[in-house]
């Protein structure tokens, strides 16, 4: 059962998926968010080795769509398509986990 507000928000979600490339195209020539650079970038910026960071940085390297993109899709058009694919996959997985959690909580 779905009320009208939820239906409207579903349309908003669909629009956000389609328009998501705005989220990379607007910042195409920008660096990452502050404090989200990779190890070599940080080490280069501060001019020193960071052994702890080097050890932990790859604690997880099984992301299927790293940086919300299909690996290797570097140009604006491909990255935009990769971004939309990531949005669809992300929403699908998030909803699946949410409904599993709701089930678990209800049982």
């Amino acid at each position: 059962m779905m009320d009208r507000l939820t239906k409207t928000l579903l349309v908003v979600v669909a629009a956000l998926i389609i328009l998501s490339p705005i989220g990379i195209l607007l910042v195409w020539n920008y660096s990452d968010a502050w404090g989200e650079w990779d190890v070599s970038t940080v080490e280069h910026m501060v001019g020193q080795k960071l052994p702890g960071m080097e050890k932990l940085a790859n604690a997880w390297n099984h992301a299927v769509l790293p940086d919300y993109n299909v690996p290797g899709w570097e140009d604006k058009l491909h990255a935009s398509i990769g971004y939309i694919i990531s949005a669809v996959v992300g929403v699908a997985v998030v909803l699946a986990v949410y409904y599993i959690l709701v089930r678990l909580a209800a049982s």
């Binding site: 956000l16 910042v27 968010a33 404090g35 390297n61 992301a63 992300g90 929403v91 949410y98 959690l101």
Partner: protein
């Protein structure tokens, strides 16, 4: 605001796992009480939170920032609903997209899923109930205060790391806190205020019962 793996050392990220375990327990207990008719709404808002974080906005100085959507969920449903939503969203972002670390996961949920919605919500409630500001304006200001506070807390976590254990985040408090706070004061904060106020305005118009129902529930205790 997604702290990657490697910025926080074991003591720091371990501390946040210890802090988050009772909070996750409490959030899960809250989820048990979620009314069936609210299940689709929280689902679609969780998807919404995932998507708004994909909208990176330019920050003067060359970095980027994004909004989170936590205050919207807190105002429309409950701050605990935002904790549940952001716990899911941040897990998927870390596992599938490498956005935010696995070791830093608990710290990230603490910042975006606890500090942000609770500060946002109580700011909203104070302005609305005590100062009599409209729900729309109160929620917008709440979202602004919430995201700037969360970013500042993230800056503190990063900035104390050099004092706790060197070799991880090299930036001290004097660098990390202003950097995180300013990015969200000038870019993500205003965006969060506008988006939150717009959503709350629309919901008030189309579903005023969502607000009235809660006022009745709260006054009954």
């Amino acid at each position: 605001m997604h702290i990657p793996d490697g910025y926080l050392g074991p003591y720091t990220f371990g501390f946040f796992y210890a802090v988050m375990i009772p909070i996750w327990y409490r959030a899960f207990k809250w989820l048990k009480k979620l009314r069936p008719q609210q299940v689709p709404l929280l689902g679609v808002l969780t998807a919404f939170a995932f998507l708004v974080m994909m909208y990176n906005m330019p920050v003067p100085g060359g970095t980027t920032a994004h909004i989170v959507g936590g205050t919207i969920i807190a105002v429309l449903i409950d701050p605990w609903a935002a904790t549940v939503a952001l716990t899911i969203v941040l897990l998927i972002q870390a596992l599938f997209f490498g956005d935010g670390g696995i070791t830093a996961y608990a710290a990230n949920v603490f910042n975006m899923g606890v500090v942000l919605p609770f500060v946002g919500y109580y700011t909203y409630r104070f302005l609305n109930r005590k100062l009599g500001l409209s729900e729309v304006l109160s929620s917008g200001i709440g979202a602004y205060v919430g995201i700037v506070t969360a970013a500042t807390v993230a800056g503190i976590e990063l900035g104390i790391q050099p004092y706790i254990q060197p070799g991880y985040c090299p930036y001290k408090l004097s660098v990390s806190v202003p950097a995180m706070a300013i990015a969200h004061l000038v870019t993500a904060g205003p965006a969060a205020a506008v988006v939150t106020a717009a959503v709350v305005w629309y919901v008030k118009k189309s579903r005023p019962d969502l607000f009235e129902m809660r006022t009745i529930m709260k006054s009954r205790g």
